[in-house]
């Protein structure tokens, strides 16, 4: 009797398992690898998946959420071995998406831009960042640019709140009259015992953001364009001037002491805990500011004025990462449908309101959305003539020269000229090997 019961149980279990398996097999499984590990974007992606699956009962979307280092380490090999995801969210640029495109591992989405209307929906410069050799290989999802967070209360305590002014032509954006005013704020913060600029450069990508920003202020986008697509060079005096500004802030004690030994998160924590007067980083930090600062209302951000009066108010900008589809995917159509679902104008509103992510949608009007004052500013800033956050458009050797430079300048083991020269050497090497970004 016992044996019969056991046999029956095993048999029933097998039937249940087989039927479950059969059910799973009936569904089309679409795998998605993304980097939305922060709470709000992660929750939004989960709700997108749930809604899409509800509308498509035959589809099962499996998300694999990885941090940036993990996806960089695993995605290329996974795609090359044929075991990669159908849809992925990966860094754009010649050092990341570029080699995958060259290897034929990414689906060409140029035609889909027309059929699905993305060419009308998305801003041109963001699409250009995922364009290689005149073909479009990804769908950008986020506009981000560098900025300076400051604590309004601390600034008022220092008696310097009046230095913050509205930008000419856009009264909702904040700036300063000159970089001298910024130096005044930093000096006052230092004298009052605060860290003037919270800066953790153990991962030198952070220093790279500062360099991109300072180059935008000293030379502007046209200058960078002339290097990227013309005959300009990285050892030009304008580049050296940007590095000198970076170094000058260190020499004057404006950065966190021993910044090379402090992580990005530790640097941000100094600002969140009112131990630092300002934080030069980017709009990608807005959600964390809202979450981690005890009084988020006390925090705001400004855009630094250009060093050269001829240059417009700007910042170093990028698209974060980009969605792309595997060339070998068996489920391209469904992956495209899902991508179209999360990249619509309606979905854009949710990226903005629920996840504090500014989608690269053309003609975004911040007044149309339910946003915090700081997010309103982020949206407005996105329409400025923005320059490049360089690490995502440059080859890896050049990035290494830049990142090494951000660290060696801080401990005095190199000069601004050394770093600029190393960047030019790396650029020439990458150029000669065809490893640079060619949009057209």
């Amino acid at each position: 009797m016992k044996r019969v019961t056991l046999t029956g149980l095993v048999g029933s279990a097998a039937v249940v398992c087989m039927s479950g398996s059969a059910l799973a097999q009936d569904k089309t499984v679409v795998t998605v690898w993304d980097q939305f590990f922060s709470d709000a974007p992660n929750a939004l992606m989960d709700s997108f998946v749930a809604e899409f699956e509800a509308a498509h009962p035959g589809v099962n979307i499996e998300r694999n959420v990885l941090d940036t280092d993990a996806i960089r380490a695993t995605l290329p090999t996974a795609l090359a071995s044929g075991s990669g995801p159908d849809l992925f969210y990966y860094d754009a640029g010649p050092a990341f998406l570029g080699p995958l495109v060259d290897a034929g591992l990414v689906a060409d989405l140029s035609d889909e831009y027309e059929t699905l209307g993305w060419d009308e929906l998305l801003v041109d410069w963001a699409v250009e960042r995922v364009t290689f050799n005149d073909r479009i290989w990804g769908v950008p999802n986020e506009i981000e640019y560098t900025n300076v967070y400051f604590n309004k209360n601390l600034l008022d305590d220092l008696g310097l709140g009046n230095l913050i002014v509205s930008a000419a032509g856009n009264e909702n954006l904040l700036t300063l009259n000159s970089m001298d005013d910024f130096a005044t704020i930093l000096t006052a913060a230092k004298d009052s015992g605060l860290v003037p600029v919270s800066f953790g450069n153990r991962d030198p990508g952070r220093g790279g953001h500062l360099f991109s920003y300072f180059l935008t202020l000293t030379a502007g986008k046209d200058f960078v364009d002339n290097i990227l697509f013309g005959d300009g060079t990285w050892d030009a005096p304008e580049v050296v001037a940007a590095w000198e500004l970076y170094k000058q802030y260190n020499d004057e004690g404006f950065y966190t002491p021993s910044a090379n030994a402090i992580s990005y998160d530790e640097g941000n924590a100094l600002f969140f805990n009112n131990r630092a007067g300002t934080n030069i980083t980017g709009t990608w930090l807005v959600a964390d500011v809202m979450d981690q600062v005890a009084d988020p209302e006390s925090i705001d951000f400004l855009l630094l004025p250009s060093v050269n009066d001829d240059l417009p108010l700007s910042a170093a900008a990028g698209i974060g990462s980009t969605f792309a589809i595997s060339e070998s995917s068996d489920n391209k159509d469904i992956a495209l449908e899902f991508l179209d679902f999360i990249m619509s104008k309606e979905a854009g509103q949710r990226w903005l309101e629920d996840a504090s992510i500014v989608p690269p949608i053309a003609d975004l009007n911040s007044q149309d959305f339910d946003l915090s004052p700081m997010m309103q500013r982020v949206v407005m800033g996105a329409s400025l003539p923005l320059s490049y956050n360089l690490d995502v458009v440059m080859p890896s050797e050049w990035n290494d020269a830049m990142k090494s430079g951000t660290q060696s300048l801080l401990d005095g083991s190199s000069t601004a000229q050394d770093v600029a020269k190393a960047q030019q050497t790396a650029w020439e090497t990458a150029k000669s090997e065809g490893r640079i970004w060619k949009a057209k």
Binding site: T77, A103, S258, S396, Q407
Partner: protein, 307 residues
Amino acid sequence: MQSKTYSSSKAFDEGRRKKALALIGRYALFLGPALLVYLPFLLYPLVQTFVLSFHEWNGVSEAKLFVGLDNFRRAFDDDIFRISITNNGIWVVASIALPMFFGLILAVMLSKVQTGQRVYTGVFFAPVVINLIVVGLVWGLIYNPLVGPLGQFFRAIGYPQLAQGWLGNTSTATPAIVLAGNWTFFGFCTVIFLQGLRTVNPEQIEAAMMDGAGAVQRFRYVTVPALSNQVTLLVVISVIGSFKVFDIVYVMTKGGPSHASEVIATYMYWQSFENGRQGYGAALAVLLTLLVAGASIALVSLRERQN
């Protein structure tokens, strides 16, 4: 008669054949399981790495461009590779000098301890069993200029200028990591030396004493030579470990700042997986293998010649 001879010879051959087959079967039985793991997971990747070192490959493209010895030539012109080799050299010297020196002193002291010797040995040995990733994280925290106890200590005793980011400076990063890494090794040296000290013949010590040798002379001329096998073992382990070191460097600095704490293994990883030059990374791996193998063979030969 002839047919009988023939048949006995045939039977003899048959017997030899069976014996040989049995022998092969026995070899296969013993070697088979090891080869099943060794061939696909060690030998095949080793050969593949060697082949890859003569190619240029970004890790994803189908085509691998044959470049002959270019990757090796490039290594000898590469400043960061030179920094890496120098740092590996620092690791070798430091891991022989520091933990073996302190391990020997501790072993001698422990050998005199009558009660609780095992407890002390266990305490000194404890760091050996801690994963180097964990060691790197803990020591990273110790060195942290914002919250680390080392900085707090220096501030408390009135030397705030020493409360700096040791891992963030190009000139102090490598010594700081080497110190952390060797902290895990001195306990191992202590245990090995302690075991060796038990084999020292007390009669030789007594004879040396009767000949008027002082404590230092007895240690230098009787104890240390008796520990030569242990020294050889530890030197070989140190050298191999120092050339292969990766995890603690990667966790603490990722080879930075500005590649200042790079060792061959971290640089190889960076070139292969972050810089997209798998062929060059493979060439560095081949050079690393040659270095480790060469150093090990040289040490063991030297030891055998001395014997």
